[in-house]
Subunit: 133 residues, 6 copies
């Protein structure tokens, strides 16, 4: 159960509703997921977090939105964040991630987590070539 | 200094040289980075790890090689693995990652790490919609 | 379900009861939470862990007990430990953390997790000024 | 060496200089640390990150600035971020953290990291009392 | 609910059944746990992961199978992976881990997680003696 | 450079010297590594941490000292703690870990970190069998 509870649309203050409205318009959907309803207990953090997410995850950048959602899933799986894995896997699928892409994503994430520990565990020095730009 | 030292090509056993040769041929390069030279102290792990990396990271899958390298960087930055950040950032650039793509990648990684903790810290329940396939 | 089960007061050995009694007296409460009941399967670890917690988290130090509980929540959210987030959020509230303080705590924790990855991902060198005492 | 290099004040674009100026004015200092110089390669992320930090870490909230800096150190030590530990330890000291406070902070961070793993490793169920608001 | 669902034996393709059969034969058991049924949606990853696990975790190496299972539990508890803690604790017990061994394992894991943060938080330099082979 | 500096034997207070003496006597060595010299700035944490380490890592328990040192390395590599990897790898070798054992240890640690993310990323439900004692 969310620590401060969930703020539903009908009970939300105008500043919170404005964020909810923008989330739904931006995502072309008619519902708000629990993450935002929990953050809404702190309207300042709700506004700032949504503004950041909107700026970072939207179209028009150097990386396409689907790839960005898959990167989000990669980080969330690495961090073992159950909520984030569930919500961003759903978002990535909505953005076009196929089952085959999901499986490859997981293979890369798994392998990276493995070799991260091999590199640190063996105390491998960074190659000179990697230190120069 | 690498725990077991680095195995240079000239001093390597035939089974290790075979892996080194395949790495260089696959990557169209003429050098081996320290990660593999450290792993080479354990030829079984060297062979298995390279075979896995080759299978996962190569072309022909559902995700393109550049995207896979960027996912590798995302995981490595999340885990704070200095060696892996250095080596896979270099690999991603070689695969075509521009400075603008790198910066967007970092923005996504940073944001995902932030919201992962907001979601867990607020103890947000997973939405019903995310639990059904 | 806890791996080794939970040791209830009535079934506890005298050395375990002595720790339970001290926990309840120190915390001015009449119940023991599951963490201690799980640890009680190993009376040595139960005793040592409680003694450490009591020494570290109590009043009279350079940091007040409420701040220490909030730091505990910060670490637990960073590590994604569900049990610890739940139990230490409750403890922090009992010690006086308001909803506004909780929300600010989460904002700091989220931001720190974000910039931790930006700093490592961009491979930022530590400034000379930070290396000298 | 920072992946994209460091943007010094003299070489910075006006939008970057504006952020640098605000950092120095806000912090009452005459220098910019490397973190911001690295981020400055991406002016959008520089602006957004500084705006967020300024909003979150400043005075006037429910948690005082010194406590917030100590929470930042707690997260950074948990994540093993060398740069962040160095920079935020310096910031916390500037904000008034004594050696005794630093040592207590570390004791809490260490203990929290220990019990986080005991709780998860023993698979402790969350107490009913912690699930209700 | 597993993202791509679970592939049961009766519905599995021949290449998946072959892996399932080998898992059951190797482990001298007549059932397959959910981890493999989830991976089976990607037969390539299923095959590779099982082959790696079989090569690494089996008897005949320099470390005995029980110790290897306990190391697996140590990593899983450190990473807060609920599924992995549950499955590898069961595997370790099947391999001979007593309750006393489990409790000692947890004590070591907890302590290591604590001192890992004390070492990084205090910014301790690595001793010269540890840098030479 | 260690945040609070290193406390050398000659400059240490009697209570710190007593701990140093016990460390050297217990480990049958004539030097103190930097970790303890850094902690010595806080004699209470120095005493408590050493007492805990001594109780947990010594002989006579259900797990032998070499295995416990290898578990310590496994956790430290998972957490990317450079100091701890260096110091506990040295300790494990002193306790009898061969190069072959080190390599197998790393293989297990790497694999566990990989499958931890596959299990969480695929959102695998815990099997009923693992939930019952």
């Amino acid at each position: 159960m969310a620590t401060l509870g969930l703020v539903e649309y009908d009970a939300a203050a105008p500043e919170v509703r404005a964020v909810y409205d923008d989330i739904m318009a931006t995502r072309k959907t008619d519902w708000i997921n629990n993450f935002w309803k929990a953050l809404a207990n702190d309207p300042v953090t709700l506004r700032r977090t949504w503004a950041s997410i909107k700026e970072i995850m939207g179209p028009g950048g150097a990386i396409d939105p689907l790839t960005k959602e898959m990167i989000y899933v990669a980080v969330s799986a690495t961090n073992q964040c159950g909520y984030c894995i569930a919500s961003h896997t759903a978002a990535a699928r909505k953005a076009g991630m196929s089952d085959a892409m999901f499986s490859e994503l997981m293979a890369v994430v798994g392998m990276a987590n493995e070799t991260n520990r091999l590199a640190s565990g063996y105390q491998v020095e960074i190659d000179e070539k990697f230190l120069t730009r």
